[in-house]
């Protein structure tokens, strides 16, 4: 019953600190613009004040005629708002119109780990300060992790299978595994892969409090600098990505633009100590090897790696060691785009997918910005500070979760990538 079919990407959308849409994301990444700034909700007492925050996010500007949507958006968590706007872009790109009875042939996979914490905190605050009778049922219903998927399914009348994965950084990739299963067994014709996260001050404070255990949060350096000797941690980010997946057969039949192929993926767990990655990145090494094996290519055919690296002292070293274990000679260039956008956890995999798409289309490698002094424990060409012109056919994306999950995914350039649709949105 499982038909061996290639899975391809046919549509996408994004909300990032650079703005709404793919063109804004592309401009930001290619010019090496830092999206990390002072976030407005931090006060004098906050230890960590910077984040990859989506300033000037105005959903009402996105679709001026869609008043009922934007009005109701305001009571949703930030991450949920981003998700809806990103989903809209992607669904438009593939020409999906709700009410055309195609809704049961679309599945939704949502990757989101901390989006609803904003609403959970709001609810809990009232519970603690004023007691149970003062709490709000409308807020409580936004605390379920699948809220973004639920709202989108209602808005677009999408009634196919629906799942929300919350295991952090690898969820976008494990989401693709689930989507692949649905597509290959014919349960759906398309899958909307959604990634969404929003930021709160409490979240940032909480991650900072974990400082005593592992120095992963940036509060001293001016900005986040992955792979640099000076690095001392990550900065959190937020945003949303939407990607439409279908089988290659379906895409061709329906004249969809094929933006890229999903060539392979691999996963492993460090099983080391929760909250710490294995110092040699043993889980990531296995994940990369499995992805390469599934893609049925040799490691030398990977043209570019989009790293998980986020400025974590231990994490960036672990990833570098893992990469050097897989590529015994010269690894491909390794870009840490989290240097620009911060650590967006459930969205990071989605952003990496978009970055890979854009890089393959425009023959460009995005930079690792804020790169200062080389660190001998990070022996990689990290495309320091400036984008580089290079054609890529196969791109490998890495993800490492905070508790030891590791995932790698390989994308292959589509012959269709001359489509104008990608950037003119």
């Amino acid at each position: 019953m499982i038909i061996d079919k290639n899975i391809v990407i046919t549509g996408c959308g994004a909300v990032s600190p650079y703005g709404i849409g793919i063109p804004a994301l592309f401009d930001g990444l290619k010019t090496g613009q830092s999206a990390i700034s002072l976030a407005p909700f931090y006060d004098e007492g906050s230890v960590v004040k910077k984040a990859g925050y989506c300033h000037d996010f105005k959903p009402e500007l996105y679709k001026k005629s869609d008043k009922p949507v934007t009005k109701s958006l305001k009571r949703l968590a930030r991450g949920t708002q981003f998700a809806i706007i990103a989903a809209d872009q992607a669904l438009q790109e593939v020409g999906y119109q709700s009410g055309e009875n195609q809704g049961d042939r679309i599945g939704i996979v949502l990757s989101s780990t901390r989006t609803v914490l904003e609403k959970t905190e709001q609810f809990y605050e009232v519970l603690v300060d004023k007691g149970p009778r003062a709490t709000s049922p409308l807020i409580f219903q936004e605390t379920v992790n699948n809220a973004s998927a639920s709202h989108i399914s209602i808005k677009y009348q999408i009634t196919g299978p629906c799942i929300t994965l919350t295991e952090g950084a690898t969820s976008a990739f494990s989401g693709i595994v689930m989507a692949t299963g649905w597509l290959r067994t014919g349960k759906v014709d398309r899958v909307l892969l959604l990634c969404a996260e929003g930021l709160t001050a409490l979240c940032q404070t909480a991650y900072n409090h974990a400082l005593g255990h592992a120095p992963v949060v940036s509060n001293k350096t001016a900005d986040c600098c992955p792979f640099s000797l000076e690095r001392n941690g990550y900065v959190l980010g937020e945003g949303a990505v939407a990607i439409i997946l279908e089988t290659q057969e379906h895409a061709i039949k329906h004249h969809a633009n094929i933006l890229a192929l999903i060539a392979g993926c691999g996963f492993a767990h460090d099983a080391y100590r929760v909250g710490r990655c294995h110092p040699n990145g043993r889980g990531l090494e296995v994940a990369m090897k499995k992805a390469i094996e599934m893609a049925n290519i040799s490691a030398n055919e990977i043209d570019w790696i989009i790293a998980n690296a986020n400025g974590s002292v231990a994490g960036d070293t672990a990833e570098s060691r893992a990469i050097n274990s897989v590529w015994k000679n010269v690894p491909p260039p390794v870009s840490a785009i989290k240097s620009m956008l911060g650590e967006t956890e459930g969205v990071a995999g989605g952003i990496a997918l978009l970055a890979g798409l854009l890089g393959m289309k425009y023959d460009i490698l995005f930079p690792t910005i804020n790169y200062q002094t080389p660190d001998p424990s990070c022996q990689v060409d990290c495309v320091p500070n400036q984008s580089r012109i290079k054609a890529s056919r196969h791109v490998l994306l890495n993800a490492m979760g905070f508790g030891g999950t590791c995932g790698s995914l390989i994308m292959t350039k589509s012959p269709d990538l001359e489509s104008k649709a990608l950037v003119n949105k």
Partner: protein, 405 residues
Amino acid sequence: MDNIVITGLGCMTSLGQDKDRVFDSLMNGKNGINYIQSFDVSSYAAKTGGEVNNFERQLNAINLTCPQYERAARLLLTATREAIDDASLILNQQNPFRIALSTGTTLGGLVNGENYYRALHQNDKKIHPNQIISASQYAPNDFVMSELGMQGMSLVTSTACSASSHAIGYALELLQSDLADVVLAGGFEPMSELTFAGFSILRSITQDKIRPFDKNRSGLVLGEGAGMLVLERENEARQRGAHIYALLAGYGSSSDAYHTTAPHKEGLGAARAMRMALNEAQLNLTQIDYINAHGTATLANDLAETRAIKNVFGEQAYHIPISSIKSMIGHTLGAAGAIEAVATVLTIHNNLIPPTINYNTPDPACDLDYVPNQSREIKVQAALSNSFGFGGNNAVLAFAKPDRY
């Protein structure tokens, strides 16, 4: 496509801390609901829940590497260990990279997050980093993976009440696409004031008993616990001489696309998910001998679910025993799909159907056979287990006897 089989089970609920004790209690129609002890219920109108009793005292006997790991992680670890032992699975004889853990939950480790929040607001200096590390959605999984030395995929699904059914459905995909050899699939949910307060303000919690499908039903009662299944491809399970409980024959999933909390009135989404599961299992309507209902005892769910079952099965619906074990253990939210899967698998294995207890007055709008108050001994070749979550997220699992195909 390979047949996927269940070779081990683990379960913790208010009715017992191992699967045999739980199932025996279910078959005897025992009530697991009592006054809540985990937090102060004096400000709430409803005061009961299905807690796992004396759990912490038992846990001190377990050697844990990180004592700050909280209740949820420990529930998950205990059920996982039971399932592994039950399957006679020797972890270090397996390829560690080919063992996956797929769980469903709503809170993850968030009870520690509640404690952290309170500590912050009281300017407590004694915040331990492990409190935050353990508070995430994925920390309990990571804890179990590390504790047991498993190095394959770790997945967490969080779709409210259907979460662990999806987690089990995901296992099907992993095994059939050869991404794993063994999948430990299930779910866990601790009792939490946060969740209790939320369901209270939604007016979903009853002060009465839990009466699924009864005319006088008035809402749900929350429970906690964990359920775990060991899943493998049939050939490999037989090769290692494993005991096989049942087949995981199908998985259906759909969205109501209707409302953020209320189910679709006609249960159309639920019906779609049931059909998808039946279809994948290649089972026709007369081959289902039992349905383990979602049966939360809310006015809305039980009616919608009854309509959904009639939508799918037509006249045949009247010939299928349907029961809700939530009548005995309450609604265990993220763990419900897994705990109810364990019960359904044991139903098939033992040909014993647990009752819907507290059933007194039939509701003309819910006129099917809900196995009222008394368990039943009947040959069960195949069964469905329903889980319908907030936001209209539906998951249905189909199970069958091992010799079915």
